[in-house]
Symmetry: C2
Subunit: 268 residues, 2 copies
């Protein structure tokens, strides 16, 4: 029987800049009587990684912070509450507000994403593997919206020691036919599973997942960055309105020039 | 401690048209010694729902089947293996090939999605609740791609008795600030968690999830259809290339007309 168990880690105090997350997590595990085993995965909310790394900025700089984190604007939409900016941030992640977050932070401040969540995951994994003496995998999660679907889900923005994609291409299904297109983004599925126990307002920013040891590997070089899709294979590099407007402007200029010449030529 | 346990259900035979899934699932649960409890959720791969409902069509009709299932083409992309069509299907789901599936089906056939996965979920939940005497929730899952991210994840396309969105808006975070935008698509997160134990080629199309009873409700009217986003709030109704081309054609026509008049007027 294939089984997965997920436990939310309670008993962690509020994280502040300079904290060693491996110490806080190890203490919370011990307090809760949870023994980490070889092949376990710890999913850590990006928020506490950012807090430990001192990524807090003053709230009145929020719009400027979003702009600073933005590599490319994908789409914007005005609504009664303001303007939503869907952007690609420096990490290659397309999300609203570039991941700049105002919830679960002290009043008057907002939180930026970690500078390099894959590096943060590697460091945390290395420290915890050494401290606990077992091969643990680390994922760092964030809450992302999706095109064409309501609501958000937690997904992986940092990874160390966890295979982020389970590539089933070339495998064989139960009828002996080759599976051609399936590459499961298992790191995102794990982050989603962890959110179901961690929750958002509960003060439990870490989950321990057991039963996925086939996805835990020796190397820490398993970047979640590999899950981001930008460039030529991105069919949605711009929102429809933005792409339409860009095409319209180009078409108008070309049409005007052609029309002008045709108008000239039409004169007797 | 918040905990989630997920078990893959083994021992189910191949599903054929006309099968009663509640009977097959109850038998597999009994064989595996799994007692369903109040508040448990069963996640069922859409594939076996389609098979039970006789949604198999001949493989040489695959492109026609995709066209029949399509309400609206969002984007198409030619590649060496053929053309990928990202479309909105009759269920409001935007996905590649309208969900028409060629894996894990008998050679020479493809499988359409259930006619109404929410109705299928309601029927299955009603039968299982009666048979087992406990309030169980049902999700029907399918594998979907995503914009801006590599790989696929399992998401919920049918639901009965499971709250599909956990609306945290208006709640309060650990700093006493109101959570403003977070609506977690928990049904999608549950489908993803279930995929981690079910897998794709393993012949285990059902998972039992325990620990989420706060999301299981008495009513069976909890449609996964509510998770689809189409219409005015969809910022990605067309692929960027398609929207650009549409804008270009409109712009060219307008520009040509304006240019033609300007050309006429420019003559002495």
């Amino acid at each position: 029987m294939t089984e997965l168990h997920a436990y939310a880690l309670g008993g962690m105090r509020e994280v502040v800049a300079g904290d060693r997350l491996d110490e806080l997590i190890a203490a919370a595990l011990a307090e809760q009587g949870l023994q980490v085993r070889d092949g376990d995965i710890l999913v850590v909310t990006s928020k506490i990684v950012s807090k430990a790394e001192g990524r807090t900025v003053r709230a009145d700089d929020r719009e400027a912070a979003i702009t600073d984190e933005t590599v490319r604007v994908v789409a914007t939409r005005a609504h009664p509450g303001g303007v939503t900016r869907i952007v690609e941030n420096r990490l290659g992640i397309v999300q609203a507000a570039a991941g700049v977050d105002a919830s679960n932070t002290p009043v008057g401040t907002v939180l930026l994403l970690p500078v390099d969540p894959d590096a943060s995951a590697r460091q945390l994994a290395a420290h915890l593997r050494e401290r606990l003496g077992v091969r643990v995998g680390i994922l760092i999660s964030d809450t992302l919206g999706r095109a064409w679907r309501e609501g958000q889900t937690d997904q992986a923005i940092g990874s160390a020691g966890v295979r982020v994609v389970d590539d089933l291409r070339g495998g064989v299904d139960t009828f002996g036919q080759t599976l051609e297109v399936t590459q499961m983004a298992v790191a995102d599925e794990i982050a989603s599973a962890a959110d179901l126990v961690k929750g958002k307002a509960s003060g439990m920013p870490v989950a321990l997942l057991r039963g996925l040891s086939h996805l835990v590997v020796e190397t820490l070089e398993t970047p979640a960055r590999a899950l981001t899709r930008t460039g030529p294979t991105d069919m949605f590099r711009l929102g429809s309105d933005e792409a339409h407007a860009e095409g319209h402007a180009e078409g108008y200029a070309e049409g005007f020039e052609a029309g002008y010449l045709a108008g000239l030529a039409a004169m007797p």
